[in-house]
C-alpha cells in the first residue's frame, strides 16, 4: 500500500508541476505582451511630445520675433528657420536629415532641441495669410510642419502643424 501511495503522489506532483508550468508560462506571456505594448506606447508618446515641444518652441519665439531672416520654404523636407529677435540675436532652427533631429542655437544651430523628427518644413506667407512667399521681407505668417513616425501604429506617420502670426510688422 505504501508503494501504491508513493506512485500516486509522484503522479500528482507531475500533473501539478505541469499545470503550474502552463500557468506560469501563460502569465509570463501575458506580462511580456503587456510590457511590449507599454514600451511601444511610451516610445510613440515620446516622439509626439518631442514634435509638440519643437513646434511650441518655434511658435513662442516667432510671436516675439522682429523679422524672418531665412525660411527654407515649400518642398524642403529638411528645413530651417532663422528669426531676428528684439534683442538683435538671430535664433536658428535646423533639421538634420541624417540624425532625424532638430538643432537650435543663437546664430548657429548647434544644440539638440528635438530628436526623432523625420522632417521639418517651414513655409512663409504674406500678410494676407494665404499667399506663399519666399521673400523674407514679406513674411507675416509662418506654417511650421514636423513629421514623426510612430512604430506602434499601422499608419504611423503623423504630421503636426503650427501656424504662427508674426506680431511685428
Amino acid at each position: 500500500m505504501r508503494h501504491s501511495r508513493r506512485a500516486l503522489t509522484m503522479l500528482e506532483l507531475v500533473i501539478a508541476s505541469s499545470l503550474l508550468t502552463v500557468l506560469v508560462a501563460s502569465a509570463t506571456l501575458l506580462l511580456r505582451t503587456s510590457r511590449q505594448a507599454w514600451t511601444a506606447q511610451e516610445q510613440d508618446h515620446q516622439r509626439l511630445q518631442s514634435a509638440q515641444a519643437l513646434l511650441r518652441h518655434v511658435v513662442r519665439h516667432a510671436r516675439q520675433a522682429q523679422s524672418v531672416v531665412a525660411a527654407s520654404g515649400v518642398g524642403e523636407a529638411s528645413g530651417s528657420l532663422s528669426l531676428e529677435m528684439p534683442s538683435g540675436d538671430i535664433f536658428v532652427w535646423n533639421h538634420n536629415d541624417a540624425g532625424k533631429r532638430v538643432d537650435f542655437g543663437v546664430t548657429t544651430a548647434n544644440g539638440l532641441l528635438a530628436d526623432s523628427i523625420e522632417s521639418l518644413e517651414v513655409v512663409g506667407y504674406e500678410a494676407d495669410g494665404t499667399t506663399i512667399t519666399n521673400n523674407v521681407a514679406d513674411m507675416q505668417v509662418l506654417r511650421v510642419t514636423a513629421t514623426v513616425e510612430l512604430p506602434r501604429e499601422v499608419n504611423g506617420v503623423k504630421t503636426l502643424e503650427s501656424w504662427v502670426w508674426l506680431r511685428a510688422w
Binding site: T9, E12, L23, L31, A37, L55, A127, D128, V164, W165
Partner: protein, 150 residues
C-alpha cells in the same frame, strides 16, 4: 486498508487544493496588475490626444488671427486634420465682430477656435468627446489691412 484509502484521498485532496490555491493567488495577483497597465495605457492615449488637440487648436487660432486681421472677414470655417494623419480630429473656427459674440462692429473681432475628437464621425462635437477651445480677440488695424491688400 480503509485507513490507507482515506490517507490516499487526503493526499489527493491536499495536492489539488494547493494547486487551486496557487492558481487563485496567481490570478488574484495578475488581474490587478494587468488592469493597472491597461488603465495606464488608456490614460496615456488620452494625454496624447489632448496634446495633439491643444497643438492644432492653437495653430488654427493663430492662422485665423492673421486671416481676420488681413481683411476683417467674418464667418465660420470647419474641417478635419486628415491630411496630417488625424482623420478623426475636426476643427471649427468662428470669427465675428458681432457684439453678441463679444466683438465690436468693424473694430474688435472675437475668434473662437474649437478642435475635438469626432469619435462617432458625425461631424459635430457631442458630449463625451474630448475637445479643446481657445478664444481671443483682435483689434482692427487699417494699416495692416492696407499692407495685406484687404
Amino acid at each position: 486498508m480503509i485507513a490507507a484509502l482515506r490517507q490516499r484521498r487526503a493526499n489527493r485532496g491536499q495536492t489539488l487544493l494547493e494547486l487551486v490555491v496557487a492558481s487563485v493567488l496567481l490570478a488574484a495577483t495578475l488581474a490587478p496588475a494587468l488592469r493597472l497597465t491597461r488603465d495606464a495605457m488608456r490614460t496615456g492615449r488620452e494625454i496624447e490626444t489632448a496634446g495633439v488637440l491643444n497643438s492644432f487648436c492653437i495653430s488654427e487660432m493663430e492662422r485665423h488671427m492673421a486671416l481676420g486681421a488681413a481683411d476683417w472677414s467674418t464667418g465660420a470655417t470647419s474641417g478635419s486634420f486628415a491630411s496630417q494623419g488625424y482623420p478623426s480630429l475636426r476643427y471649427e473656427v468662428v470669427r465675428s465682430d458681432d457684439p453678441a459674440d463679444g466683438g465690436i462692429e468693424n473694430k474688435l473681432m472675437a475668434i473662437v477656435s474649437t478642435v475635438w475628437e469626432d469619435a462617432n464621425g458625425n461631424g459635430d462635437w457631442d458630449a463625451g468627446e474630448p475637445r479643446v477651445v481657445y478664444a481671443t480677440k483682435i483689434a482692427s488695424m487699417s494699416g495692416y489691412q492696407e499692407g495685406a491688400g484687404g
